[in-house]
Amino acid sequence: MSALRSSSRDKSIEVANARLAGILVLPTWLIIITVFALPILGALYLSFRNETLGTFVPARFIGFENYLQALVDPRFWESIWVTLILMVLAIIVQIPLGIGLAVLLHRNLAGTQFFRTVLIIPMLLTPVAVGLMWRFLFDADLGVINWALDQINVHGPNWLGWRWPAIMAVTIVDSWQSIPFVMLIALAGLTGLPKGPREAAAIDGARASQIFFHITLPSLLPIVLVIAMIRIIDCLKMFDLIFILTGKGGPGTATQTLGMLTYNTGFIFFQTSRAAALGVLMVILVAPIYVMWRRATEYAR
């Protein structure tokens, strides 16, 4: 009898605890719903209408017309292509360089503390300030970069006036600012790795490069995948740097990412419903990347 009473008392305590937990978590859910879910649902609703900021024509439901219009718009596909190019370049440049710097710093050579401090400075600057600064650096007539290239008899391009130099310029600036982040995360990963396997390999006669490629790097793989995912997401939402550096995606549409196209559509063309549809398409395109990352992470484990 007392066991039964004890069991039912435990159950009611459990229920009370669950209720209390629900109440305590409720404010968080309200914030999540208000800040995330409601705007997303609002954007979804907007994407099926023909609303504009200036109410040029009476707003009405138009079904999938905005989506179809986007899918046949060459600007949409070009913006995806630009986004992919910037993303791939970012991964190719930033991850090896970031890991390389982390490996160097991990060795605790002379000056490590100084270089660690200096190397994270770019990360601390706001993208707008960074964009403005580099816009001057890349100036074809007055910029330091072309001046420096002139000193070694190399004629620098008009970085912001041509398609591929502009893409390179964005990649250089984004890498300058993001490599410190990659370095810090990789350094934290390296610090957390057990020394045992590497020491054992060294005793067995393995070279440093063999240890790095066959033991260290595979152990770092989960962290590298996290870094890659964060960088991919950052590239997908890169906006302020491009806005300032290349003048909203210029020259022409050379650096107009999907995010910039969405901004231009909504805030410059006043086509809010079309912009909402572009936003929804962006989410749909990002989802498979997230799924691939989850699978890769599980595989790495």
Binding site: G54, L142, K248, P251
Partner: protein, 412 residues
């Protein structure tokens, strides 16, 4: 008596006084600019004279028009006066964002609309209604380095061919680059002015694009052919970049809005104080003036439209026009201002704001979809100007791109 009960009457009285005073407050929506700075300099005098309190919200150019349209759409009554760029006049007109001011203008001796030439009287009109007063008169004018031109025996160009010849002469002399335009994110401004000047149009009366007409092709080719005489960075230069380079390096001439004169007067901005002259924009086949500048008006949901008009008369009326200019604003093209000898001595560019009767005045295209039309043009011109696309092929492609964009103008 408890303290709360003692304080209650005072609280009610304060609340009612506050409500009363806020009811007569004026809220200004401005964009950081010399015009905004000048307007704000008159606020203390207005407040003293009328007893109304004036509050100012300054919003950067990139967001201001969207913010204002949203505010009026939501009928928030946040602003009583709003500054806006003339290029947004048509979207604002189509959306009913601003109140018509014609009755107030007609009745106002202080504003005195007859002090403006006919072309400038229509500057703020949308479908026959004045939605914005002229806040600045900024035509495209020719700026040139008097020292470089004098040394080479050159005169300001009257035609585009002369402009090109001058640019070549300066470049060949080694005294600097021949000229500069902003061939980057603002190249559409120079391109459309050139198309108009060559006798072309961007679209016809039925909103069919005409960007690949023979005149437009010739204008675009001319614009591209000028590039070798410009600094290399001109290809990616914005309007501000072009002006900064003209003011700080050796460049023979530029065509730019007269409103940049304020930058010129600041020694911190430029190295050539006293060595810059102004002249009208060169002519092509057509006698055209491209006119730009700010407008200012009363939003449709303004809470205090009468007080707002009082403020506009106070600041922009004829009797205050000199003070307004001397407060650092870009000039408004009143006849009384641009012919005043004292002001001309101080601001030598004023006479070029005198637009002759019969001159074709082209404002920013008065179409609701101008931002999207312009972006499509900018995208096409980038490839044309850097040579990756031929002029005719690029404009033919642009013609096709603009068709569905302009079709929205006829949408009901």
């Amino acid at each position: 008596m408890p303290i709360a009960k003692k304080l209650l009457p005072a609280a009610v009285l304060l609340a009612s006084m506050t409500t009363l005073s806020y009811a007569d407050d004026l809220n200004l929506f401005l964009s950081p600019s010399p015009s905004s700075t000048a307007i704000q300099s008159f606020i203390p005098a207005f407040e003293k004279a009328t007893g109304h309190t004036v509050h100012v919200t300054e919003v950067p150019y990139g967001e201001m028009h969207q913010k204002l349209m949203l505010s009026v759409q939501l009928k928030q009554g946040q602003y009583d006066i709003a500054q806006f760029d003339n290029s947004f006049l048509t979207p604002f007109g189509a959306a009913g964002t601003m109140l018509p001011l014609d009755d107030k203008i007609a009745a106002s001796k202080e504003y005195d609309i007859s002090d403006f030439s006919k072309g400038q009287q229509d500057y703020g009109k949308y479908k026959g209604q004045t939605l914005g007063l002229t806040l600045s008169t900024e035509p495209f004018i020719q700026w040139y380095r008097t020292d470089i031109y004098d040394a080479l025996g050159l005169k300001p160009a009257k035609t585009w061919d002369e402009f090109k010849a001058n640019a070549k002469a300066v470049k060949d002399s080694g005294k600097g680059d021949g000229f500069i335009f902003g061939y980057g994110p603002n190249v559409s401004w120079w391109w459309m002015a050139m198309v108009w000047s060559f006798g072309g149009h961007l679209y016809d009366d039925n909103y069919n694009p005409t960007v690949n007409s023979p005149e437009a092709v010739a204008a675009t080719q001319f614009l591209k052919d000028l590039l070798p005489y410009a600094p290399e960075g001109a290809l990616s230069a914005s309007s501000d970049d072009a002006t900064i380079k003209f003011l700080s390096t050796d460049i023979g001439a530029m065509v730019q809005y007269s409103g940049y004169w304020g930058m010129l007067l600041d020694p911190a901005n430029q190295k050539h104080l006293g060595k810059i002259g102004t002249a009208p924009m060169p002519k092509g086949a057509a006698d055209v003036v491209h006119l730009a500048g700010w407008n200012i008006g009363i939003p449709a949901d303004a809470k205090n439209p009468e007080v707002a008009w009082q403020f506009l008369e106070f600041v922009l009326g004829k009797s205050n026009a000199k003070n307004y200019l001397n407060a650092g604003a870009a000039a408004i093209g009143r006849k009384s201002i641009i012919t005043d000898p004292e002001l001309i001595a101080k601001y030598p560019y004023l006479p070029v704001l005198d637009i002759a009767e019969g001159t074709r005045i082209e404002r920013y295209p008065q179409i609701r979809v101008w931002p999207e039309f312009e972006k499509a043009a900018l995208d096409a011109l980038a490839g044309i100007m850097n040579g990756s696309v031929e002029v005719k092929a690029g404009l033919d492609a642009l013609e096709e791109t603009e068709k569905p964009i302009l079709a929205q103008e006829n949408a009901k």
